[in-house]
């Protein structure tokens, strides 16, 4: 499987859809759809995430590979499939600013890894707090690009806490990459430096919540 993962990753990074699809189809001959996702797609996306962290692959490759894997997994493992992961109610949002590439990437990689989550689009603090409480969200992922938006996470966290909500907040985006202390300062529970890391954090939180 290691060889297949390496070839699949290479095909994704070079945006060779035909080759990536062919490797996935071959894997499906040997494994169930959920196992193919977990043993081929998730490790490849994890490796791409680590490479992004190390500055070895670019955002355009991360975005295109995430989008392609999401399509691939949707075809074989539709959202209603009972094999999709049992998970805490989760949502993702762009807080306050208007830059949604990071959110799109994380959303695609989460779905390509077998998760389902609400996509809240772009919201300001008031609307986000209200919606999170109404939907009884347990894991909230907040993506930002601008520093003022990152600083608004503090208000989101404190207001959610004041409602008695036990939601866990994961943040991501450029300000958190440039200041590795910022996520703690704004009261988040974790920071993901790549989409794959967001997946790993949600999986860890799932374990803690059980």
């Amino acid at each position: 499987m290691d060889t297949s993962v390496a070839s699949f990753r290479e095909a994704l990074e070079s945006l060779d859809r035909v080759q990536a699809d062919s490797i996935f189809q071959k894997t499906l001959l040997e494994l169930s759809p959920i196992d193919a996702v977990e043993q081929l797609v998730v490790p490849a996306l994890e490796q791409i995430g680590s490479a992004w962290d190390a500055g070895e692959v670019a955002l355009s490759q991360v975005y295109m590979s995430g989008r392609f894997c999401e399509e691939l997994v949707d075809r074989t493992l539709p959202p209603s499939d009972p094999d999709r992961k049992h998970q805490p109610r989760s949502a993702i949002v762009v807080l306050s600013d208007y830059h949604d590439l990071g959110k799109r990437i994380v959303y695609s990689v989460m779905r390509a890894s077998g998760f389902e989550l609400f996509d809240y689009g772009r919201m300001d603090v008031d609307a986000l707090v209200e919606r999170t409480v109404t939907d009884q969200i347990r894991v909230l992922m907040i993506s930002v690009l601008m520093l003022p938006s990152a600083l608004k996470v503090r208000e989101v966290c404190s207001r959610l806490k004041a409602t008695g909500s036990d939601v866990r907040v994961i943040v991501g985006g450029a300000p958190f990459l440039f200041d590795r202390e910022l996520w703690k300062e704004v009261g988040a529970d974790a920071m993901g430096s790549s989409a794959a890391q967001a997946v790993a954090i949600v999986e860890r939180m799932m374990g803690e919540m059980q």
């Binding site: 975005y63 295109m64 830059h99 949604d100 590439l101 200041d179 202390e181």
Partner: protein
Amino acid sequence: MTPATMTSMQRVLTTLGHQEPDRVPLFLLTTLHGAKELGMSIEHYFSSAEHVVQGQLRLLEKYRSDCVYPFFYASIETEAWGGTTIFVPDGPPLCGAPVIAQASDIETLSTPKVENSPPLQKVLTAIRLLKQQLTDTVPIIGVAISPFSLPVMQMGFHSYIELMYEQPALFDELMQRNEEFTVAWANAQLEAGATAICYFDPLSSTTSVPRERYLRTGQQVAKRTLARIKGPTATHLASGRGLSIIPDIADTGTAVIGVSAMEDLAALKNAAAGRVSLLGNLNGVEMRRWTPQMAEMEVKRAIAKAGRGGGFLLADNHGEIPWQVPQDVLLAIRDAVDRWGQYPLNWIDDWRE
């Protein structure tokens, strides 16, 4: 502090010639802070060229930066294309809805004329007024977003990535239209009195696209565009990584590269190898919570890694210092450059990180 023996212009030109001036030039790229100086909202501040001129002159007096920076905000360029700007109280103005709603819109997109755009004319007025005040003692830095990076604001980041990979003919068409605009806009600023143009090109960084694609796209666009800009240019990657493409960027004819805090300045200086000067790379996001002592340490570190031999301008790594960075930190940076930036930099021999 030894008194300065050069004007800012002499200092900058000397370092760009890869010689050591009297001290390391400091480009404190403050834009929004001008509104703070004048005690007005960011939106009101940018509504008038005179505000920006006053703001820049006050910032120059306070921090003694080696340039003035009459950059308003990035989306002022998309305003010329019919776009809008969203002002926020505590950060840079943001770009409104994309002017290219779908890729096919590119076929009918027409390149705006600089002379027909009141927002761009406002910037040109600010440059003219600053030129009258400063003559040739302090460099005036104009800004043009690269044709390759402009589509992030014109159509949204994800739509642009998809266009680049999936619709090469429309991508080429958009580049042609954008190149005409960027060349005209940069040259208008030079004619108004700008000394040099900061060519913002974050999409060319390896954070955004892999090197192979950059060589086929962003680099070709930059070569064509910079060749038609009638003055010196500095390519700024706006926090994006660029270590592995420094020689490739130098090949576009740029004089300076704005580099990221994510990469080691000594390695970047080594890669620049006297071919191109470096601008950077203080971490603007962290700067918000620096103490004066931390500011001094960061300035020392940057100068130790890249100061020797000239070819270096100390600045933040993004091309704009965040609104949240307090005055005390900016003053501490200024003081540290005065203390540790005097050439020759003999103290570096004993410096350990």
